[in-house]
Amino acid sequence: MIRRTAWMWVGLALAMAALPQLGGDYLIGLGITLLMWIALAESWIVLSGMTGYVSFGHAVFYGLGAYVMVVCWNNLPGWAGFLGAGLAAGLFALAIGYPVLRVRGPYFVILTYGLAELVKFLIINTEAALGKFGRLVFGAPPLATLYYLMLGLATLAVLIAWTVRRSRLGLGLAAIREDETAAENAGVPVARLKLIAFALSAAIPGMVGAVMALRSSYFEPLQAFSPTVSFNIVAMAVIGGGDDAPGPILGALFLVLLSELLWAHLPEVYMIILGLLVIGFVLFAPEGLHGRLQRLRRP
């Protein structure tokens, strides 16, 4: 059973790897979108799924990454901007993590949201002071290159989530989620572990933001730091369910397809369905799609 599942994932990865050879620009674009959400949601669960510290502000890492990329683009080689984006996001998480991660529960949720908004407006004001109102990126790499970058990020994010979940670190994070005080008294260095999880869950979204800045050839803070990014990540993780790697993949796949069907013509209807789905899953299927499927498999 485990072997069959493993082969299924390998097959899926290979199919995704072959996609640019098979499909046109539309399909590649759709693939990038899907992989982007997988990478973001997988990164998110490393913090929020595993520790229960629900971040409503992951757009901040995405936006920072995009910003670092466009600022670096004409001055440094592309790979430097790409890695710099991940580094900047990770370091930012480390820098703010210690005070921020002392705030628990719903306060943490709102705090992360507020931080993302604060950084957004700080960058808007900085850009305005520099006289920039949006930045264009010239000479971005071809779509297929971006696709493979994103595939790499998504795969890395899945592997990180999968590995952490099965590691000593993951067990410590789960203990924090269940009862932080009891975890501390069992010897878990909670502050350090939370900080590690925070940085791990920030770095890849930074690089995803960098790739997406190249993809759209444009950077505009309101868009790059849009709360919609944070919301979508949370919705996908909730709908996918759980604290393990398959959840976000299912959630992302489901919502990307739904959005593809509805977004272009009926964006409001898509958003309404999204709202209904979040409510429905929280109330009736808190274990998410992944949990449901697992339960079907072993009756």
Binding site: R168, A174, R177, E178, N185, A186, G187, V188, A191
Partner: protein, 244 residues
């Protein structure tokens, strides 16, 4: 410096309220000391101070010489002190085995053999082996109390702080638990500081008993001496006799 736990004039204020003041006593290596007192006497606060959950307002706490007050709880665990909680705090969503595994992997470590063997041994000693793969939330109260002990024990402590692990259990369960605690103590050569309301159990288990009243230490001695101490009878036994 003497081995074991030493409290020197320890006090703790919450706002203007003195929960504990000027408490001094020692728990020598390998000894079992009982901590007694009515509700609100400051017993659990004292545990929180020793285990690093709270920082003392005054005084010093030493373990094998160096001070440990002000260390975070996980650092205290690594020094070799582990506590249980009066109101049990299992990692409810994790399996019983994973509960113990957390403590084994993050505790003081240094056990012979693999972590998995150590976890299995601890589950065995605490009588939880058969329920190891259940989620912790499925345990009965008696099971949860055992899990508290198992989790503390899995950190491989040298001093175990037990906070009312017998409260709420049936007489049979109390008897079983006492056997378990004695076996554990003997096997690991642990020192134990134990808070207990079940008086008989405390008298049977401990060589020394410390009595707290309104945050102050009012007596310390053998169970017999304590039972005969007029101050104790006045403050504690008198009170509970009045309740009965």
């Amino acid at each position: 410096m003497s081995a074991g736990l030493v409290l020197e004039g320890v006090g703790k204020n919450f706002g203007g309220l003195k929960a504990v003041s000027d408490v001094s006593f020692a728990v020598p290596e390998g000894a079992i000391v009982g901590l007694m007192g009515a509700n609100g006497a400051g017993k659990t606060t004292l545990f929180a101070l020793i285990a690093g959950n709270e920082r003392p307002s005054e005084g010093a706490i030493r373990f094998d010489g160096p001070r440990i007050d002000g260390l975070s709880p996980d650092r205290v665990v690594k020094k070799g002190i582990a506590r249980t909680f009066q109101i049990v705090r299992p990692f409810a969503g994790l399996s019983v085995r994973d509960n113990v595994r957390v403590a084994a992997l993050y505790g003081r470590g240094g056990f012979a053999g693999s972590a998995e063997d150590w976890v299995a041994a601890v589950l065995d000693e605490t009588g939880l082996a058969e329920q190891a793969d259940k989620p912790a939330q499925a345990l009965t109260l008696s099971g949860r109390k055992r899990l508290e002990v198992a989790r503390a024990l899995a950190t491989r402590p040298r001093l175990l702080l037990l906070d009312e692990v017998l409260a709420g259990l049936t007489p049979t369960e109390v008897a079983e638990a006492l056997v378990m605690l004695r076996a554990i103590q003997a096997k690991h050569g642990l020192a134990i500081l134990v808070i207990e309301h079940v008086m008989k159990a405390l008298m049977r288990l401990c060589a020394t008993i410390v009595v707290l009243h309104h945050g102050l230490k009012i007596a310390e001695g053998t169970p017999e001496a304590i039972a005969a101490d007029p101050a104790v009878i006045e403050a504690y036994l008198g009170e509970s006799a009045a309740h009965a």
